[in-house]
Amino acid sequence: MVPLSHYLALSVILFVLGAAGFIFRRNIITVFMCIELMLNAVNLAFMAFSRFLGNLDGQIFVFFVIVVAAAEAAVGLAIIIALHRNRASLNIEDVDEMKM
């Protein structure tokens, strides 16, 4: 059987990839996908713990996360489309109006 640490290592790798992408990439779609990546890294960790501890709580959390991610995808993509229509750009650095 694959030990827990392997799952957690994969989860950490995926999360770090997601976080790094979120910070360093400029394309909004990519940033958006990085968020999904981080969420799914967490999901993976939840699933692994759930399996190894024999407790279903983790799986319930995963369902919640998937639901939230779905809603987020719907809203987020809608915002991105509206943004693209207005700005004709998907560079995240062009969107910095919200500041003092």
């Binding site: 976080a19 979120f22 360093f24 995240i92 650095e93 003092m100």
Partner: protein, 650 residues
């Protein structure tokens, strides 16, 4: 009805009057305002008489009652009730205060008719009356202090009644601040008593003191007595805090009559008489009272000799007479001090009201050099003023004679400053007779020196003003008969009446070498005071009616002395130099420029604003609008948090 309710009914109507007039007076007509104002005080007078009647019917002993109505302050050991006290001293005080106040309210209807702020005047006057009654009926020190400060506040408001006039506003401030010095002594004294006896209640404290063997706790009681007397010095304008009273004449004349002659300024005498037992157990404090009183009496009388302003002259005379009252209390004859308080309330308020009537006729002129011969036009004013003058000068058969004589007899019998206090007091009586008759000569008799302009509209005041004058004149004559002197085979009924109040104090004093048996018969002393008065009157008549050039010659001969007297011993100038000027300089250079502008305005107010602004300027840069940078901060935060958790758990 029982006394408990009657006392409340006596105290509260003026408060209701003040509230009604104060809140709604602006919309009332003058008639309504004066009806409410005089009605409140009138009711209070009626209930004062009813209380006295009910009290005298009750046969229960002891003859002092305390009625607690509700608990006012309760904190640990400290407990102060709203409680009223009634004994024979309260009886005398309430009757005197209400009668004089009622008459002065009636007079004010006429006097204030053409002045602005009619309703404001009656509001303050009613409030004053309420506070004065609180002061004399309070059953414990804190409640007395409420009345004490309350009358001070009303005095301030009424002195500054014409607040658009700078001198009036300044005089109000001066009165308030100078009396505050005394009040500090009062509060510390009360705190000392509380610390010693764990009570603030009159009956409790006085009983505990009376039960002490003579000499025990003497140092504490001396300190407490002196501190209480400091309060009395401020309130009753004695040396060295008398300076506010002459300036208080800036207020309307009825105010001078009521507050600064008849009632409020006598509060100090009342305080000393009320605490007589404390002073009896601290003879040295009592001696200070007597000496200060006597010196003040003489000192103020010498200033009054040269004053040309009628009201100011009367103000110095008030200070002098208050000194007599303290002389009486200080030499152990408390009843005589209270007796003089009562007779003085009548004749001095009459003098002031008559002076107000003169002022009315003269169109506000108060300089006696510009009067003269007014007796032809102001017949009633002249007659009443003359009666009051005879009373204050100590002419036999007028009230002042009886009370002053009792005080002088007391001074003669006392151990304090014997016999100097007596001779100084007798000399003061002569001076009093002189300056009072000087004022009568200058104002009412002799040739007219009135401006032709004001001459033709000289007129007697209306009945609203003359009726109170006549009633007060009646009292000024007969008030003395309540204590017919022993020398004339009388019984001194007034002193007998007050005996239960002062008996513990007298008993305690008899154990000290305070009293001396009189070697000279009281009749001889009386002869001396009559002689002093006669000399004073004679010299005044000779100088100011017969050979009117003598005063100027005397003034020229003793020019230095004359200048010192007209400048009131330069005390105001001295206080200005010693206290007011340095205070102003410190306030201006340090408190204003450095503390207020520097520390408060710049550092605290502007500093806070500028600090917040510059901090915000720095923090603003975090809010860049750039999402990746926010994400970096969040990540950094999460990593730090994790590190902290790891560090905490390992």
């Amino acid at each position: 009805m029982n006394l408990e309710i009657l006392l409340l009914l006596m105290v509260l109507p003026p408060l209701a009057g003040a509230a009604l007039n104060g809140l709604l007076g602006r919309r009332f007509s003058q008639a309504t305002v004066s009806l409410i104002g005089c009605g409140g005080v009138g009711l209070s007078m009626v209930f004062a008489f009813l209380s006295a009647w009910v009290y005298s019917k009750s046969s229960t002993q002891p003859a002092a009652f305390t009625y607690p109505y509700f608990t006012w302050i309760q904190a640990g050991q400290l407990r102060a009730e709203y409680a009223l006290y009634y004994d024979r001293l309260t009886l005398i005080m309430t009757l005197t205060v209400t009668v004089v106040a009622f008459l002065i309210h009636l007079y004010s209807r006429g006097y204030m008719e053409h002045e602005g702020g009619y309703y404001r005047f009656f509001t303050y006057l009613n409030l004053f009356h309420f506070m004065m009654l609180t002061l004399v009926t309070a059953a414990n020190f804190p409640l007395m202090f409420v009345g004490w400060e309350g009358v001070g506040l009303c005095s301030y408001l009424l002195i500054g009644f014409y607040f658009r006039k700078k001198s009036a506003a300044d005089a109000g401030k001066k009165a308030f601040i100078v009396t505050r010095i005394g009040d500090a002594g009062f509060t510390v004294g009360v705190a000392l008593l509380f610390w010693t006896f764990h009570s603030l209640d009159f009956q409790t404290i006085f009983k505990r003191v009376a039960d002490l063997p003579q000499g025990e706790l003497e140092s504490v009681l001396t300190a407490a007595g002196l501190l209480l007397f400091l309060g009395a010095i401020g309130k009753s304008a004695q040396l060295p805090l008398y300076v506010w009273l002459p300036d208080a004449m800036e207020g309307p004349t009825p105010v001078s009559a009521l507050i600064h002659a008849a009632t409020m300024v006598t509060a100090g005498v009342y305080l000393v008489a009320r605490s007589s037992i404390i002073f009896a157990h601290a003879p040295s404090a009592l001696a200070v009272v007597g000496v200060v009183g006597c010196l003040t009496a003489f000192y103020a009388a010498t200033i009054a000799l040269t004053q040309n302003d009628l009201k100011r002259m009367l103000a110095y005379s008030t200070i002098s007479q208050l000194g007599y009252m303290f002389l009486g209390c200080g030499t152990g004859v408390f009843a005589a001090g209270i007796f003089h308080l009562m007779t003085h309330a009548f004749f001095k308020s009459l003098l002031f009201l008559a002076a107000g009537s003169v002022m009315h006729a003269m169109g506000g002129e108060l300089d006696m050099r510009k009067m003269g011969g007014l007796r032809h036009k102001l017949k009633i004013t002249h007659a009443t003023f003359l009666i009051a003058t005879l009373a204050i000068s100590g002419v036999p058969m007028f009230s002042g004679f009886f009370s002053k004589d009792e005080i002088l007899a007391g001074a003669y019998e006392s151990w304090v400053g014997r016999p100097w206090l007596y001779w100084l007091g007798a000399a003061t009586a002569g001076l009093t007779a002189f300056y009072m008759f000087r004022s009568v000569c200058l104002t009412f008799w002799g040739k007219s020196r009135v401006d032709p302009g004001t001459e033709h509209h000289l007129h007697e005041s209306g009945s609203k003003m003359t009726v109170p004058l006549i009633v007060l004149a009646f009292f000024s004559v007969v008030a003395g008969y309540v204590s017919w002197p022993r020398a004339w085979h009388g019984s001194e009924a007034f002193d007998r009446f007050l005996e239960p109040v002062f008996a513990p104090a007298t008993k305690a004093l008899l154990k000290t070498p305070y009293f001396h048996p009189v070697s000279l018969g009281p009749g001889a002393l009386m002869g001396f005071s009559i002689l002093a008065a006669a000399i004073g009157i004679g010299v005044a008549l000779w100088w100011y009616l017969k050979s009117t050039d003598i005063p100027d010659q005397v003034a020229e001969r003793y020019a230095d002395l004359y200048r010192i007297l007209t400048h009131k011993y330069y005390v105001d100038e001295f206080y200005n130099w010693l206290i007011v000027r340095p205070l102003c300089i410190v306030s201006d250079k340090f408190l204003w420029r450095v503390v207020d502008e520097g520390a408060i305005d710049n550092v605290m107010v502007n500093g806070t604003a500028e600090g917040t602004a510059s901090l915000g300027d720095v923090l603003r840069r975090i809010q860049s609008g750039n999402i990746p940078s926010y994400a970096t901060w969040v990540l950094l935060g999460a990593v730090l948090w994790l590190l902290y958790i790891f560090a905490a758990h390992s």
